[in-house]
């Protein structure tokens, strides 16, 4: 059943937006697993790009605010999420250097899938739910807008070690530029037409 595009455009709340992206990422993993040959490579590029921009946006917009407003935000709650993101980026980086047709690729992909799923669920339960509680709707809408901007300019490849907002903003624009030029040259931008991205 086709989904009305305007339904997704109505996600003005940052929690809605990011939760929808978690769902999309979950679907993308399935696509990579079930595709063969070139289709698998192409699906993987889309997944890689989606993960990279999504995580960067969370690091730039969501986690700094969560750190500030949430109980325990500064005590490890956010650090736990950043550590998970760092691990995921390393795995994603490794996958980039592997052949999508090989069994070791699929094995690592599966480990990444489970790690990303657990990480997404933790964010939703421990961070997003509480953010909605502590933050007024207009701020949540502004955050959604910021996330969209951040994603438009984010690096499209994983760069582990760049998890703080500052590091992202310093390294980000140049890295993103380099990434996007690289993608364009190789034809691996993997842009998805999904209006949710």
């Amino acid at each position: 059943m086709a989904q009305a595009p305007q339904a997704m455009a109505e996600q003005v709340d940052v929690v809605d937006l990011l939760t929808a992206q978690h769902s999309l990422i979950r679907d993308l993993f399935e696509e990579v697993k079930t595709a063969q040959g070139e289709a698998r490579e192409e699906a993987f590029h889309r997944l890689r790009r989606m993960l990279a921009v999504h995580e960067t946006a969370e690091e730039e917009v969501v986690h700094p605010i969560a750190r500030h407003v949430l109980d325990g935000g500064d005590d490890g709650l956010v650090d736990d999420r950043l550590a998970e993101e760092n691990e995921a980026k390393k795995m994603l980086g490794e996958l980039e250097g592997m052949q999508p047709g090989k069994p070791d690729f699929m094995e690592l992909l599966d480990r990444l899938r489970m790690a990303v799923l657990a990480h997404a669920r933790s964010e939703e339960r421990y961070e997003f739910m509480k953010l909605r509680d502590k933050t007024d709707p207009s701020t949540l809408r502004a955050m959604a807008a910021s996330v969209k901007v951040a994603e438009a300019f984010a690096p499209t490849h994983p760069h582990a070690g760049v998890e703080s907002a500052t590091a992202n903003l310093v390294a980000g624009p140049i890295t993103a530029l380099v990434d996007r030029v690289r993608d364009a040259v190789r034809g691996t931008s993997g842009t998805t037409d999904d209006p949710r991205s």
């Binding site: 059943m1 989904q3 009305a4 305007q6 339904a7 109505e10 809605d16 939760t19 929808a20 978690h22 769902s23 979950r26 679907d27 993993f29 399935e30 899938r113 799923l117 657990a118 669920r121 939703e124 739910m129 909605r132 509680d133």
Partner: protein
């Protein structure tokens, strides 16, 4: 079936206790597990919860210390079994994801039981209930897409259709109209007793689940929907449990419980596709065989009867999780308008029904209607999985707004 739980030997009870490492089962994959594997897990969780609760109720009225000790020993193992089974479900599943699997269980478990129930009155009770669970699945699936941005098809596969059943709004009846007539324990086929017990356990666990987790959402529509459907589950537990003969002794009920557990673990072991889960069904079956032997012994000593008098000599045909689409569509075409009056069924909305409807809805649309309106507003139509064509009831065919 040549397998006879009454004559097979199980693991001695003193060897059934598992340590922490053994109890720490590996959960199934959240995305790649056969939906029916999850359904079997959920079913057995309900069965083991019922085993523990029944044993506690028995202990509360039992004056004999020796019997209570025996109940306590077995019950502790049943509690370990419950944890080994329920912890097969991964922690990444959200409450709503698990809820949708629960409703898939309700639909396809009740569907199969109804199709295989020999007694027409009992079969009618199951047909009545399944159309309501079918509707719950539809309501929760719509909620799922709204708040978790994911489609229920990812959970149920295409094994179970998702579309309106008997609308939840008309499922709210006067409590007395949820009481059916019980079967006669001396006349009922053993399979009828097992069916009733299985569905009571399943609905009871669903009721418990909504009671406990329905408040874990923040979105008002989610909280409200869980309250509403939670109250229907109360009706379903009353409805199914009233089918059981109140004259059954505690001993024969104990035997029926343990026999049913053997029956279900055996059935699921035979059809389980996941090897790790299959190993658990097999291990637990070997535990239940001993629990059954103990129960049969107790009944011989305290009731002076042999277990075969209660549960028969032959294990019934294995209970199977499989699609029930054609069966459900037939019910959707013919039984949508049923409600209950006393122990029977009627098609008109009688006075007692109307009074309940007025009181409970308070002149407004209930959450089960509002959740669909909300989905239509956001997506242009309600969410459905109609694999076999349009809805059999023309009044419930999908409308797509002009947007």
């Amino acid at each position: 079936m040549t397998f006879n739980p009454l004559t097979e030997k199980g693991i001695p009870l003193e060897r059934q206790l598992r340590n922490w490492r053994e109890l720490d089962v590996t959960p199934v994959d959240p995305d790649e597990t056969d939906p029916y594997t999850k359904c079997r897990i959920i079913t057995m969780n309900g069965i083991e919860v019922e085993a523990a609760l029944f044993s506690h109720h028995f202990a509360r009225i039992c004056p004999d210390r020796e019997v209570k000790e025996q109940l306590a020993r077995t019950r502790y193992i049943e509690q370990q079994q419950q944890k080994a089974v329920n912890w097969l479900l991964p922690g990444t599943a959200s409450v709503l994801e698990t809820t949708i699997s629960y409703e898939q269980v309700a639909v396809d478990l009740t569907g199969w039981v109804a199709r295989n129930e020999p007694d027409p009155y009992l079969r009618q009770a199951y047909e009545f209930g399944v159309l309501e669970d079918f509707d719950h699945l539809y309501r929760y699936a719509n909620l799922y897409e709204i708040i978790e941005h994911r489609r229920a098809e990812k959970i149920v596969g295409r094994l179970t259709e998702v579309m309106p059943g008997r609308p939840t709004i008309v499922e709210h009846r006067d409590p007395v109209d949820n009481l059916r007539d019980p079967y006669d324990r001396n006349a009922a086929a053993p399979i009828s007793k097992l069916h009733a017990l299985t569905l009571v356990a399943a609905e009871q666990q669903t009721m418990n689940f909504y009671m406990t987790t329905g408040n874990m959402y923040m979105e008002p529509i989610a909280r409200q929907l869980y309250q509403e459907i939670g109250l229907i589950e109360e009706e379903h537990v009353t409805h199914y449990e009233s089918l059981m003969d109140p004259g059954e002794t505690w001993w024969e009920r104990l035997v029926t419980h343990e026999y049913n557990e053997c029956y279900l673990y055996y059935s699921f072991m035979r059809q389980e596709s996941d090897p790790k889960v299959r190993a658990i069904w097999e291990l637990h079956l070997n535990m239940e065989l001993e629990h059954l032997r103990i129960a049969a012994d107790l009944m011989r000593r305290h009731d002076g009867r042999e277990p075969e008098e209660v549960v028969g000599r032959e294990l019934p045909q294995a209970l199977t999780f499989e699609p029930n689409k054609a069966f459900l569509r037939e019910l959707l075409a013919t039984q949508m308008d049923l409600t209950t009056l006393g122990a029977g069924y009627v098609r008109e909305q009688h006075e007692r029904f109307q009074r309940m409807q007025e009181q409970i809805h308070g002149g407004e649309k209930p959450p089960s209607e509002r959740v669909i309106d909300l989905h239509r507003e956001k997506f242009g139509a309600d969410y459905r999985i109609e694999t076999e064509g349009r809805h059999p009831d023309p009044r419930l065919r999908q409308e797509v707004s002009g947007r």
